[in-house]
């Protein structure tokens, strides 16, 4: 099921809901996001815990109608100006979550139950303003609980270190809510730094975070998470986050930025010419100790 990024993203219909950026600031599928913009797949609902720039970029491109997330901005610099302007003008709808509530909503869907209970949320305006949350008196203890209903994204897009062509993925480092989102989504695209022979994956089945039965499409895309870091592959491109912050205060500025970084390149191969990979490469390497299976 290995396809090109162009083909994979082309399967996503306008109006879809997409969970992305699930490992927080780690391994964000920017390449997939930029391809969504190039193909003009719009009216999207974006779902995630925090979004470190990717959602802001999609909003700036005008392809977003709703966001269901706990935080949208730029972790290095604070505000995401495209998100802020769109939220303030009402051109996008925002459903406010906490990190836990979005995680529980996806986990409920992944578990196949209509909701999960939590001791968080009550007393906040996140709870008060959202009719989808319910308050419940716990039938066992009488405690007050918040019930978080399931969210089932149409798509989840996840960036991993390596995957088999069948879709089994080795992922390490931060994972955030990757697993709940993959379980919750109707369709899953795995974007891998490296597509490897199935035998490589099977030599370490306990490293598999996503198995083939959950995956629809596999895309090989080295550096596909830049400017976010990928454990074992490249560091975070901090300068990019600061430059973006300065360069996207107005829509016009954003459009100029996007002309260079998104529309000015056909694909990730061309994109890689824009960045100085050597400045991001791993210089101090840590190799995991040996793990054996066998019989």
């Amino acid at each position: 099921m290995t396809v090109s990024m162009t083909d994979a993203i082309g399967r996503i219909a306008p109006g879809s809901s997409i969970a992305m950026g699930l490992a927080l600031e780690h391994a964000i599928p920017f390449a997939a996001g930029h391809e969504l913009i190039r193909q003009g797949i719009d009216d999207l609902t974006l779902i995630g815990p925090i979004s470190d720039l990717l959602f802001d970029q999609l909003v700036g491109a005008g392809v977003v109608s709703s966001i269901r997330a706990a935080w949208v901005g730029n972790v290095s610099a604070g505000t995401g100006y495209r998100f802020r302007e769109a939220a303030e003008s009402g051109s996008i709808n925002v459903e406010n979550h906490s990190n836990f509530s979005i995680g529980l909503a996806l986990q409920a869907a992944a578990m196949g139950v209509p909701y999960l209970p939590t001791r968080s949320l009550l007393g906040s305006d996140i709870f008060a303003e959202n009719d989808r949350f319910l308050e419940q008196e716990d039938p066992f203890s009488g405690d007050r609980l918040a019930l978080v209903p399931a969210i089932e994204p149409d798509w989840a897009i996840v960036h991993v270190q390596r995957a088999s062509p069948a879709g089994d993925a080795h992922l390490w480092g931060n994972t955030g809510i990757t697993e709940p989102a993959v379980g919750a989504a109707d369709n899953v695209i795995v974007v891998a730094e490296e597509v490897v022979d199935e035998s490589v994956i099977k030599r370490d089945p306990s490293r598999v975070v996503i198995a083939r039965d959950q995956v629809d499409l596999v895309v090989e895309c080295p550096y596909g998470a830049h400017p976010s870091p990928v454990a074992g592959h490249y560091n975070r491109d901090n300068a990019y986050y600061l430059e973006y912050h300065g360069a996207t205060r107005t829509q016009e500025d954003y459009d100029a930025w996007a002309e260079t970084w998104i529309h000015g390149v056909d694909d990730r191969t061309a994109y890689r010419e824009l960045i100085d990979e050597s400045a991001l490469s791993i210089t101090q390497e840590t190799i995991a100790p040996e793990v054996r299976y066998g019989q």
């Binding site: 994972t175 955030g176 976010s228």
Partner: protein, 258 residues
């Protein structure tokens, strides 16, 4: 004010680090707390553990500057990189001793807003909660950090992202969440505690700051430790060791510079 040998934010980091006890499990988050945990574990709290909502658990400083919890130096030689639900579960079952929170607005009872503020007749959209609401509800205690700016201190938060104490003086008694609520606020001018009713009071003033000069920053009649039978002390300045550590962890002053 005489020229200082440290920045406001370095002092805030030092004060925040002091809020971590040895053996604590701390929920760290972003910005200054990233540095504060590293200072604490390098000085008075060698057995403190940090958890981050990305899933990382660390017992030692990163060997390199980190903009975010997910920067590779924060993963390298971590204790574990489990998932967010696992970290949030620790919080929900009461295993997190202290959590750090920032805020654009704070009210008299420690309720924080990081979602939507009013400026004149404009509403300004901020990034939102992240894990802040969860930490506020469920950590055993929380430590709040913010720049000392009068607009941030409000009678009533425009949007309660992260619950503090009830506004009727009942503290956390009727609050459904298991957490203990805010134990300290650290600004760039003072540190504050919360009394038995959950109301803010001045605990210590940073060197060079006068009580009168900050009382007007609050739209209510600000309490002090003296009102509660104690005394308003002075916030300890960062030690040389702390400053050296802060400047090692943040060599360009990205988070802690002027």
């Amino acid at each position: 004010m005489a020229s200082k040998e440290y920045t406001d934010r370095e002092l805030m980091v030092s004060a925040a680090a002091a809020e971590i006890d040895d053996g604590d499990t701390a929920f760290v988050g972003m910005r200054l707390p990233l540095i504060a945990f590293q200072v604490a574990v390098s000085t008075h709290a060698p057995d403190a553990l940090a958890v981050y909502e990305s899933g990382v658990i660390r017992d030692s400083p990163a060997d390199g500057f980190i903009h975010t919890m997910c920067d590779l130096p924060n993963l390298n030689n971590a204790v574990s990189t489990t998932g967010m639900l696992d970290i949030m579960s620790r919080l929900q079952r009461g295993d997190i001793d202290v959590g750090f929170l920032g805020g654009a607005e704070i009210d008299r009872y420690g309720n924080l807003n990081t979602t939507l503020v009013e400026a004149g007749n404009r509403e300004i959209r901020l990034p939102g909660s992240g894990g802040a609401c969860d930490i506020a509800c469920m950590a055993n205690r929380t430590v709040l950090l913010m720049a000392h700016e009068p607009r941030r201190f409000v009678e009533s938060a425009h949007y309660v992202t992260s619950p503090g104490y009830a506004r009727d003086g009942t503290g956390r008694d009727d609050h459904p969440a298991p957490g203990g609520g805010p134990s300290a606020l650290v600004t760039s001018k003072a540190t504050f505690g919360f009394d038995n009713t959950g109301e803010l009071y001045v605990r210590t003033l940073h060197p060079g700051v006068e009580l009168d000069a900050i009382a007007d920053d609050f739209p209510w009649d600000l309490q002090t430790a003296a009102d509660l039978g104690g005394t308003v002390g002075q916030t300890p300045v960062p030690t040389d060791e702390e400053l050296s550590l802060i400047r090692t962890f943040d060599p360009d002053g990205f988070w802690t510079g002027e």
